[in-house]
Subunit: 512 residues, 2 copies
């Protein structure tokens, strides 16, 4: 058995059965091993940021890591933007990066790069296996790290000779690492704060925004009068009817400061104390009141379900149903506005859909207008590196089976990883992309105005996406994805309904 | 004057007048400064690997650096693949990477990343300006480093507050660094080797493959009987009629070893001693004879024109014209074959064209079949990280003014940075893309067979680009580029001639 075969078998034994791939020459022995050892679903992406973004989306829905297959340092580099996003979303990923043979590296052949240096900037765990006999053991460790409760990025660098040499040893799966225990004193302290104060915010993030923690948090809010909010940047939220209508801290600094200023105490449940996405002149980095007290119930690597259960018990909070989010609306008619699109989405999305939200400026209100949709999963761009929406949707669809995936996708950010559409077509994934076509980097035009001026011709040359207009119907068709343009909500709703019936991708070029 | 304004004015004073950009929020003050201070041509790319690849292509033709404008660590990461290629092509680039404000960085907001760590993996020079007063000085240093004879990658990281704070100071341009002097003893030694041995190879790379060094090398070959070859991976060669029909060391290991085995002495002129692009089991890393003597006339950071002039004088080599490369051929007819396309290209390309060659497997023979084309510049993928062909072509066209740029572009690698086509359309660049559409990663199918087997279904799922076929006419049209399909050489030749008349981009989807 060669090193590559021990790697494939160890990954399968450890529960990793999906590989998002863009291979090159150094990975051919791994590809050969995948041919000989059955059980791994391999999904090709035509650019590496699509590959890593798919692995991120896969984890968020499957709640277990996939592996990626990347070619040398530059192949890893191409995928680092979405590894940054995955790290912020706490997605577990096992990157397999082929590289120069150990004895060939000193010759500095053209593709030789500082692969480890690149990997360290986005990974929690990095190792180069320099011997076929170590590959299985290292792969089991890579999976173990990735499977931590708060998923981690593991990067295993595989020199070509470690892959092709004989002497591979399949390793047994390693246990999932235990998450750090919740401190009972922290629970007691938070219970005391909640009992004795009025202006308390419980801020939820990540696991704490999923259904189980929501139900517990609601019992605590009901028992104490505390307010609940979610952080702005959560990779994965569960919402819609039957779930909590949980608002998020606003993106804009002024609005966030206004929202948070009323709280004297902030209890963090897997959340970080809120700070601005960016700094701005004359505005503070910290968005909460300088006199507010911060109390950590649980960190991002701890189990929020356990923490909140302990707090419910400490408070003796009663069982109580989550309030109904209201009737499902009817589809909107007429002009394509933010509100009309959000209402139509809530009206038409199938039960148990997955939303991949990279709607940027146009979608700022989508979230709060869709609480009364059927139960669904909502995936956000959590690292701010644009270009994750379409890859995350694609990977989520691979994990989701027959579940409908709907991308709310801004046009500027769609262009970063439009190659995703081809993978959606090849895999016949049930992905509906609503492409929000405003022909500009609208968020940046807003940011420019914040700097204090109207953009002149030079600035607009870098902020405007018209001249020429992108034709998204042709771009989608060119990659084998059926598509059509909509200029009214009636047209958009018709196309949504038509797409939701097909187990195949579709793109709606929505002119806004 | 704020830091951003001092940066723009210092760049302009230092001769950097072209900015390839994909800005974000942290760069808005720089964008604002570009609006207020005239003189910088700003070219928008819709993904950062397009931006950095354009800067590479620009340098290769303009022989001076452009700057890039990138957004935080992830924006830099997206562009690192082509920075790797630019480093291998010895292209000088000044990257300006906006980042979190200095005082905001400790809060670890979502886009915060290890920007310096990322930059170091692909840059010769990295600095973070933490104060508006330092930005001008640091920018002048960044340009100075990039302008070294063998161009370098400089990365200047600009926290948002260093950009917006008052106190910017415009810096004077710094002198271009002198390249290390040629050692007269090395010249004497090489002259001695050439005089006293028969089997001598003079291996040229980079600057030594441009017209001036070629003429000098030819005089030396004429005087001594030495053979001349170029390295396989050169970013920029000057060739066609009036230039030397300089063959390259073959890509394939067996062919390279066979070619090089006959030489007892190898004289390196800005070249590295040839090694394999990759290692393979049972094959050596080094491609030359183990008994061959290696003699370094000049390193890659030295001036090959000076070194070869000294050698010509030492040898007293006579003035002699470069041999004629033969008549310009007529366009080929019939089937789309490698040879037919190369001949047609030689027949039709305008004088002084620029070829951007990322033809990979299909284009292996293009080079040797185009010696008798009109004089032209030939730009190769020199770092092996696929996806540089279209961006390099685009940047070369920005530098080239009215010069025709022709991309020989494989389909698989085109998909890595297809967004380049949009920039070609926006800037109305005279770029003709000949898209070599074989619907597979053909080089990898060959590499898989080298591993010893025919690809099975799992492997082919990662090597085959059909199902669905990419429709390159629609993809190009979707980005505003006129395009048509050709299935015969007659159709291809007609489209080439039609395109060469227009100052606008065109894509020929050539079915091969």
């Amino acid at each position: 058995m060669n090193g590559a075969e021990s790697l494939v078998q160890t990954l399968l034994n450890s529960g990793v059965d999906t590989c998002f791939a863009n291979p090159g020459t150094s990975e051919m022995h791994f590809v050969g091993a995948l041919d000989r050892i059955p059980g791994m679903r391999c999904v090709l992406g035509l650019q590496e940021n699509v590959v890593t973004g798919m692995a991120d989306g896969y984890y968020r829905i499957a709640r277990k890591p996939a592996c990626t297959l990347l070619h040398c340092g530059p192949g890893l580099a191409n995928g680092m933007g979405n590894l940054h996003n995955a790290r912020r979303a706490h997605a577990g990923i096992v990157n397999i990066v082929g590289d120069q043979a150990t004895y060939h590296r000193p010759y500095d052949a053209p593709l030789t790069a500082d692969t480890e240096g690149m990997a360290r900037t986005v990974s929690h765990w990095v190792r180069t296996s320099t011997d076929a006999a170590e590959v299985g053991r290292d792969a089991a460790l890579a999976v173990q790290n990735a499977r931590a409760l708060s998923g981690q990025i593991s990067t295993l660098i595989l020199p070509a000779d470690a892959s092709w040499n004989r002497g591979g040893v399949v390793a047994n799966p390693l246990p999932v690492p235990a998450s750090p225990a919740i401190d009972p004193h922290a629970v007691e302290n938070v219970a005391r704060v909640l009992r004795s104060n009025r202006n308390v915010l419980i801020l939820l993030a990540d696991q704490a925004t999923l259904a189980t923690s929501q139900r517990l948090a609601w019992r605590i809010a009901d028992a104490t009068g505390a307010h609940l909010l979610a952080s702005y940047s959560n990779g994965h939220m569960q919402r819609g009817r039957g779930r909590l209508a949980l608002e998020r801290v606003p993106y804009g600094t002024d609005a966030a400061i206004k929202t948070l200023s009323q709280y004297d105490h902030i209890v963090l449940v897997n959340a970080k104390a809120p700070v601005g996405f960016f700094a701005y002149p004359e505005q503070p980095s910290i968005q909460y009141s300088s006199s507010a007290q911060i109390h950590v119930l649980s960190r991002s690597d701890q189990d929020s379900d356990v923490a909140l259960t302990m707090l419910v018990e400490e408070l003796g909070a009663r069982e109580i149903a989550i309030p109904d989010a209201g009737c499902r609306p009817n589809p909107a008619r007429g002009a394509t506005t933010q509100e009309n699109l959000a209402v139509t989405l809530a009206a038409l999305m199938p039960e148990n859909s997955i939303i991949s939200n990279e709607s940027i400026s146009y979608g700022r209100d989508f979230y709060k207008l869709t609480h009364n949709a059927p139960a669904h999963d909502w995936l956000n761009l959590s690292g701010g590196a644009i270009g994750d929406g379409l890859p995350v949707a694609t990977g989520a669809a691979v994990a989701g089976g027959d579940r409908r995936v709907i991308s709310l996708q801004a046009d500027g950010s769609a262009m970063y990883s439009l190659q995703s559409l081809w993978t959606q077509a090849r895999e016949r994934l049930p992905c509906t992309t609503i492409l929000l076509n405003n022909r500009k980097y609208n968020i940046l035009i807003g940011e420019y105005k914040n700097v204090g001026a109207v953009p002149g011709p030079t600035a607009m040359g870098m902020l405007d996406l018209s001249n020429p207009d992108l034709d998204w119907v042709q771009l989608a068709n060119g990659m084998g994805v059926e598509a059509a343009r909509a200029t009214t909500m009636e047209e958009c709703a018709d196309l949504m309904q038509q797409s939701f019936k097909q187990k195949a991708p579709f793109l709606i070029d929505l002119i806004i």
